[in-house]
């Protein structure tokens, strides 16, 4: 019996299972279990907290396993939505789930990173049960965003995710956590409420809230070009803030810096991707005329984001802030690739989103490792860590190189593909993006040099110890993922090929 037979058998076996609902709501079930335990057991003691951590870890791992199962039965050659579940709700809306290659890969990214985040949150001591419940709810909502195939259901998950993140930043964050939490919530809410009105207008025009049917409507009769412009701008308001694009990125450095490590990871790795996902799922396929109209603007904003954010990152004194600005720059590559509308560009953008999810998440975890020990993120505080923490230095080096886009790491294929895609459309934009690659080497290597290389000058660092077993467990999967994606990018690219082709076709209106 070979692998293909197993997959066929598995598909047959799981055909009637609501697999996506299971993946989506498993973490929520874990949250309910923790709440039930909190209600019945005497909480607020170390034993209870340890139990809660383990329950959460188990539920996130089981969720990952379930998503791997979904991945196994997913058919990458089929360009349509798969594993569709459809239950009517009310007012013509439906609880409709389904995935294509793009959504499936982002779901896997989410479920892959969440257990690592829980591991990284082991050092949380304050209100452990609340923290874990919020994290589990957040995972459900993130997965829901990518599964939802009804546009209102999508919005439902999209915006609900703000609630747990708001509380996570505000309660467990750093010194300016309250400011950062408010800024994050209100900034994002203002963007998305405009999208809500646009969604309503789309439903009124097309007479459906089903994403597949809306895409078909956009291909067939299509939205009126002038209306498209307005709808595009409303969606842009939401996704540009979420992604974030220059100049509406200012919430991100605050939120990233103040959030607890695991929340920073989720913010950078998954929540930002919702912006890119939104452009790929809605803006391009549903408003192709408006997307063409705004392509020059998007290119300009992307290049500015890449160059400007890289320069700003170079000047940062705070490790997390530096990585936050590097996220803005890397998201610039994503928008550049998406709006090139070419097959390479879109594929590169998707790859870049997945790769950035892993690398930036890993970099935040790297900061978390030393922050847990020294309780500061100031770059100047550190230096010469390689002498005390050789393993940490090696891991940090790998992810720094990934951030720079070194061939062999997952950072490379995404950047090169987006630039190839952009080059076909605008040489100037590609040239600007190349400049950004050089700058990214400048800031990332400088950070690495200042933190790890040289001799230990700060006496407080004398006693710092290398990574422990829990941290090994956190980083090994990330290292493997980075190397596999870097060495064998075809695995991912084949998987997302059909979705990317659909987007590129919708954009060019014919040959991809």
């Amino acid at each position: 019996m070979n692998w293909a037979d197993i997959v066929v058998g598995l598909r047959e076996f799981l055909r009637d299972w609501p697999l996506l609902s299971i993946v989506t709501f498993l973490p929520a079930a874990g949250a309910l279990l923790v709440l039930a335990a909190r209600a019945t057991l005497p909480g607020e003691n170390p034993g209870f907290d340890r139990g809660v951590r383990f329950i959460t870890l188990i539920f996130t791992i089981v969720t990952f396993a379930a998503s791997v199962l979904a991945f196994a039965v997913f058919d990458p050659t089929n360009p349509g939505y798969q594993m569709v579940e459809n239950t009517p709700w009310a007012f013509g809306l439906a609880y409709r789930l389904g995935v294509d290659g793009l959504a499936m890969s982002l779901i896997l990214l989410t479920t892959f990173l969440t257990p690592l985040c829980i591991l990284a949150s082991w050092s949380i001591e304050k209100q452990v049960a609340s923290y874990m419940v919020l994290f589990l709810i957040l995972e459900t909502l993130m997965i829901g965003v990518f599964c939802a195939q009804d546009i209102v259901l999508f919005y439902f998950f999209f915006e609900a995710g703000l609630i747990p993140m708001f509380i996570l930043i505000g309660v467990w964050g750093g010194a300016r956590r309250v400011y950062a939490a408010f800024k994050f919530f209100l900034y994002t809410l203002l963007g998305s409420i405009l999208m809500l009105v646009a969604i309503i207008a789309m439903i009124a025009t097309a007479g459906t809230s089903n994403i597949e049917a809306l895409t078909a409507f956009a291909r067939g009769p299509g939205f009126d070009p002038q209306m498209q412009t307005w709808l595009w701008l409303a969606f842009f308001a939401s996704f540009a803030v979420k992604l974030p694009m220059w100049p509406v990125h200012t919430w991100l450095p605050d939120a990233h810096v103040e959030a607890p490590t695991a929340a920073s990871v989720v913010l950078a790795a998954v929540l930002l991707k919702m912006g890119g996902y939104g452009f790929l799922r809605f803006s391009l396929p549903m408003f192709p005329d408006a997307s063409h109209l705004f392509t020059p603007m998007m290119f300009a904003l992307s290049v500015v984001a890449i160059v400007w954010a890289s320069l700003v990152a170079f000047r940062q004194l705070d490790m997390k802030k530096l990585i936050a600005y590097s996220s803005v720059a890397h998201m610039g590559f994503v928008t550049l690739g998406i709006f090139s509308g070419t097959m390479q560009g879109v594929q590169g953008a998707i790859f870049q989103m997945l790769s950035h999810g892993i690398i930036s998440g890993a970099l935040f975890l790297c900061v978390g490792v030393v922050y847990d020990r020294m309780h500061t993120r100031e770059i100047a505080f550190y230096g010469g860590l390689v002498n005390r923490m050789p393993v940490y230095a090696a891991v940090f080096l790998l992810f720094t190189m990934g951030n720079v886009g070194l061939p062999g790491t997952s950072g490379f294929p995404g950047e090169i593909l987006t630039m190839v895609g952009a080059f076909q459309v605008s040489v100037w934009a590609a040239a600007g993006a190349c400049l950004g690659v050089i700058f990214s080497a400048a800031y990332a290597l400088t950070l690495y040099r200042k933190v790890t290389l040289g001799v230990v000058e700060n006496p407080k660092l004398e006693g710092i110890v290398d990574m422990d077993a829990r941290e090994w467990a956190t980083f090994v999967p990330l290292v493997l993922a980075t190397l596999i994606m870097g060495l064998a990018p075809g695995l991912v690219l084949n998987f997302t090929d059909a979705s990317a082709r659909a987007v590129a076709t919708a954009f060019t209106g014919g040959a991809p």
């Binding site: 909190r38 007012f91 209102v152 998950f157 708001f166 509380i167 408010f182 207008a201 439903i203």
Partner: protein, 483 residues
Amino acid sequence: MMQPMQDLVASLPHVRPELLLAGFALVGVLIGAWGGDRLFGLLSALGVAALAGAGVLAVIDAPVAPVRVLQGAMVIDGLGVFAKVLIGLSAAAALALGADHFARDKDPRFEFPIMLTLAALGMFVMVSAQDLISLYVGVELQSLCAYVLAAWRRDDALSSEAGLKYFVLSAISSGLLLFGASFVYGFTGAIHFDAIASAAAEGGGVGLLFGLVLMLCALGFKMSAAPFHMWTPDVYEGAPTPVTAFFAAAPKVAAVILMARVLYEPFASFEPQWRQVVVALSAISMVWGAVGALLQTNLKRLMAYSSIGNMGFALMGLASGVAEGPVSALIYLAFYLPANIGIFALILAMRRNGAPAETVADLAGLAQTRPWMAALLTMLLFSIAGIPPFAGFLGKFLVFRAAVDAELVWLAVLGGVAAVVAAAYYLRLLSSVWFSAPAARFEPASFTIAATAVAGAALTFPVLVLALGSVQNWAEAAVRMNF
């Protein structure tokens, strides 16, 4: 036409909810006069039963087609039944909270359940009104009881001030209502809605329009829509908290439903004219409710501005025309009420050293001292703010949708911006609850309060979210019966 006596006899089976409330009030006064304040608990329990029973009875007696009763003064129809259920249940919850509160404050006066029931009776009449007389009588019965309830703490300056302020300002609005009604009567020669409708359809002239605008102003006052909202923060702050909980729920439903009746029944042909007025009321209320609350520190004043803003959203539904407007407004109210009652239950639950929490700062660190209470409050506040996955979001979604379908996109966008501004002050509350260092613990909450808060939160999520389809069917059936 039937003989008056025959008509009365034929009408009685249709007005059983109203008879139940009136019967309880009359018998309750006698029992109270005989037994005094020691029967406060018993009368309150009976009152809760009567109010909830009236709501249930309204559903049981729900007709399949509108039934005119009492010589056409009132109508029993789907719209009225929908409103009576909301009014009956929310008034019952407010009375239960009040009974608990006053018993704890050692201030039991047996008139409380009776005044509250009479106010609810006035609302029942309002939502069934079919001519100008029953409209005015319903509004006045409700208002007179409300003045007394606002001033319930006679020896408390703030409460007396609230009652007096409410009385004086509300009397002016009642005057406007009468003045407007007399214009309508003068220019149509009719008091019955059907007769006014046929007269209005023939034109009616500027006098009729003048009367309509005056009546709308008065109704706007009763539902605390800006710019007729000035009384709301003071009355909410001064009145005892259970009374405020009552004010924030049932009278709003009654006023919105009555306004829907006036707009869509006698003045349906004036839609182009009244729409401008309702749109303006809606826009000003949403914006002012959001902006006005930003600097408030008193919990009840903050909730007052919140209710002003929320009335703006309900009015957005009404402004959107007959196709979707009333349905969205009904569902908006149905989803707004449980969250609102739940929040007031939690405000009542926050007592420290025998005194209830007053300001936002009093909630500091609730998430650490009382995590369950904090979780409920978080759910309820996000529901009122209109953030998914809570029922409040669906309410906002539906009124936005009604507005967009009625080509009032700008109003929907304005509402969206107002919702973001409003979110800022709900977040300020939550910031105090979650992010601040804990203050001293609150006293344990009583069962009534805890049960009310849990029920309110459970309704906002997940019960009403999952039951959206049933609510839709019910609201659409209710509206289809009339308009």
